[in-house]
Symmetry: C2
Subunit: 440 residues, 2 copies
């Protein structure tokens, strides 16, 4: 294996801003053929229900059954999977689930209300979704950890029913995924995938119940279908390639940092790994570690492509400049591999998850630290948050006017409504004002 | 004016479910010509910046200026508008702003963190957006109340800069809108509208800064443009027609209820007004009030069309059935015009805003109760919330492992990562495990 060369940038270069923008550029390519195909599948599932689901499952997953009911995996099947997986994996899944549950319970939101001097009640009522759908990819990208990360916040939020869909091409079932579903408390599991699964969850069929929100990762067909059904149901984010940004003061073992960058790069060729340091010699040392360790990696080809095409080693004047560059990137994962992460974190404004200190490898957060591993990608941490309990709850405003409050505020509403030319609004308010100002 | 006839439904009818579904059916029509036009405008603004903004502003708003800078309204202009509007309107706007600010301050979210027994730190850091864009429609649908409802939550959230765009066709400026911007503390105002304004906010131009999220109502061009730029920036919801659902025990003045229904119907022909009551005679009385009051309304034509096409009077067995029907509708606005709203509200699971008791007209909430009037429409209250401070803040997960914690949890992560075939993840975690398990 010949050495790979990693792009170098220097924040003091005059063209740094342009080079950084080019490095980060990533656009979700719109594929018209995929769009057309997805629209067709959704239309068929919406209008023909179970029959369409069966046809597409036979076509795409080569799985022929007589009814959608046969595609359901009952709780006994999930329990069987839990019993079948190796003991160390079961213990690890249960430990991870416990920590994820514990963290997410702290995200639970409470309803509140208060009363003002007039006796007017104002508040916010928090309620869970009735039903959530969880898409889990099948085949090689089947990640039991994603089942935990998507299902547990929904259950903690109090969602009435969590319905999981997972494709089982050729009937191949992943026991780790089913075991994770059992541990997370998923209510029902259907072996359906692709756009047809998204359609079934969005519109409901005779057998698969319609849900209120669909979450979970998937390929381009699944992502496109989620975009299409948005509005009929809620969706979580549409994820781009995964990224890691490491800020290091130059005093962490360069092998550790190289492996942290690899842990992102091994996901796929488009994944992005960036290291920022004020220590130019350290950037050299990490590059040497990269080339030393690369041949030992199972996914060396994917890592080499990802690192060559999308990685960068960025030299900065100091850690404050590193934080400023990081804020422009708004990374999905940010490691602060520095002596005093508590002080540096104050300068960080945008990041999906922040891993503080040399011992906090991103991989720990991916599996079992507690916080969610579904995070905003491609700079969307500027305006969005990790998947959380709040994604499975919604709020209703509460307003209760006393007669006195309606009298006082009805006058204000009347002036504003008439200012906007909305006289039914004005008269509706005026009816509640004493002396019947509305008798005009 | 001849009497209008309002659709009647009875929840005990065998075809009620189908009739209700038909009543609620509303699909955002996709207009391919609008899509094409919007994509063209966005592309031009993205690639040519100010020059494209000037061209489209001249074309669509018949406003020819030499530079985008001339389209900016400075703070002095906003203050001048505040001085120019009638005193009662200024007082009403200021009173409304004060109540909206007071309510929204209670939505502010705090960062939190905790430490487990190993000394591992876990938490959630809450930060405001750097910059938010607020679209305000111009012309006849220019609502100063919407400026307050969109800008105040952003300011309360701590957004660094709030940029407002508002079209001024033929140079016509609405002083109430500018006065509301002054009161809400909007930082910069540009007289640009349509898809070109959305593009300028999403991508930035030489003069208009790029924002992180765009909120606010607009016509089909604006809504389509917001859908297109979603991902580059955050957006708020895409609103459908406005709706009100009134549940009444039959003991509120039927004129009040008729006017409450009108206050929704006057928005536009597609607005929806529904009344549910267990008292059939009361439904008759409200229909009589509707026909008595309709000729006295300024917007009688719009109201008549909306009520004929989309309104319904629904008879139910009791208030619990009313709540069940309401939960299926998941209305934007829900009035509980009943003797004991506190007891009924416990049965309500989905609604944008709940107006409790006979004195609480929806119009009070639209203007000055305090809660936001930007609410989820078309049944999306099943999974979404009123616009709030939380829409202008985002969260970052915090994870800080001690050496002991990394040792303990690194073992768990390693098992799970190897179970998923992600060995770089595993080895990254194993480096932090004592005894260097990674030396393989």
């Amino acid at each position: 294996m010949t050495d790979i060369s990693i792009r170098r940038l220097n924040a003091s270069d005059s063209d740094f801003d342009i080079a950084l923008a080019k490095l980060l550029a990533w656009e979700d390519s719109v594929d018209h053929q995929v769009n057309e195909s997805v629209r067709h599948i959704l239309h068929e599932v919406k209008t023909r229900g179970d029959a369409a689901v069966l046809e597409f499952t036979e076509k795409f997953d080569r799985l022929k059954v007589g009814s959608v009911a046969e595609l359901e995996m009952g709780q006994d099947r999930l329990q069987k999977a839990l019993g079948a997986i190796p003991q160390d994996q079961r213990v690890a899944l249960e430990k991870a689930a416990e920590r994820v549950r514990d963290y997410h319970e702290r995200q639970n939101q409470a309803s509140w209300q208060y009363e003002d001097d007039d006796g007017t009640v104002l508040g916010q009522k928090v309620t869970p979704l009735d039903r959530a759908g969880l898409y889990v990819p099948g085949g090689k990208a089947a990640y039991p950890s994603s089942v935990l990360m998507n299902a547990i916040p929904a259950k903690v939020a109090g969602v009435g029913e969590v319905i999981m869909v997972v494709p089982t091409p050729d009937g191949v079932v992943n026991d780790m995924v089913l075991a994770a579903a059992a541990i997370a408390g998923v209510d029902r599991v259907f072996c359906v995938g692709g756009a047809q699964a998204v359609g079934a969850l969005a519109y409901g069929t005779e057998t698969i119940p319609a849900v209120d929100k669909i979450v979970g990762p998937g390929n381009i067909f699944v992502a496109t279908a989620k975009r299409e059904v948005f509005g009929t149901v809620g969706i979580d984010m549409i994820a781009g390639p995964s990224e890691i940004l490491v800020i290091c003061d130059g005093k962490t073992d360069p092998d550790w940092i190289a492996m942290d960058l690899f842990s992102q790069a091994e996901h796929d060729e488009q994944a992005q790994s960036i290291l920022i340091s004020p220590d130019a010699d350290f950037l050299d040392a990490v590059e040497a570690s990269i080339n030393k360790l690369l041949p030992t990696m199972e996914r060396a080809d994917i890592i080499a492509t990802s690192m060559t095409d999308r990685a960068a080693l960025i030299h900065v004047a100091d850690l404050s400049e590193a934080a400023r560059v990081s804020n422009r990137i708004a990374p999905e994962h940010l490691e602060l591999s520095v002596e005093d992460p508590d002080s540096l974190v104050g300068e960080i404004r945008h990041a999906g998850a922040i891993f503080m200190g040399r011992y906090t490898a991103e991989a720990l957060g991916d599996y079992c630290a507690g916080p969610n591993h579904v995070l905003p990608t491609s700079g969307t941490a500027r305006f969005s948050s990790p998947l959380g309990v709040y994604d499975f709850q919604k709020r209703s405003s509460l307003i209760g006017f006393s007669a006195a409050g309606a009298d006082r505020m009805g006058r204000v509403a009347s002036v504003l409504a008439r200012g906007e030319g909305l006289t039914a609004h004005a008269r509706s308010a005026e009816y509640r004002v004493r002396e019947g100002q509305s008798d005009e």
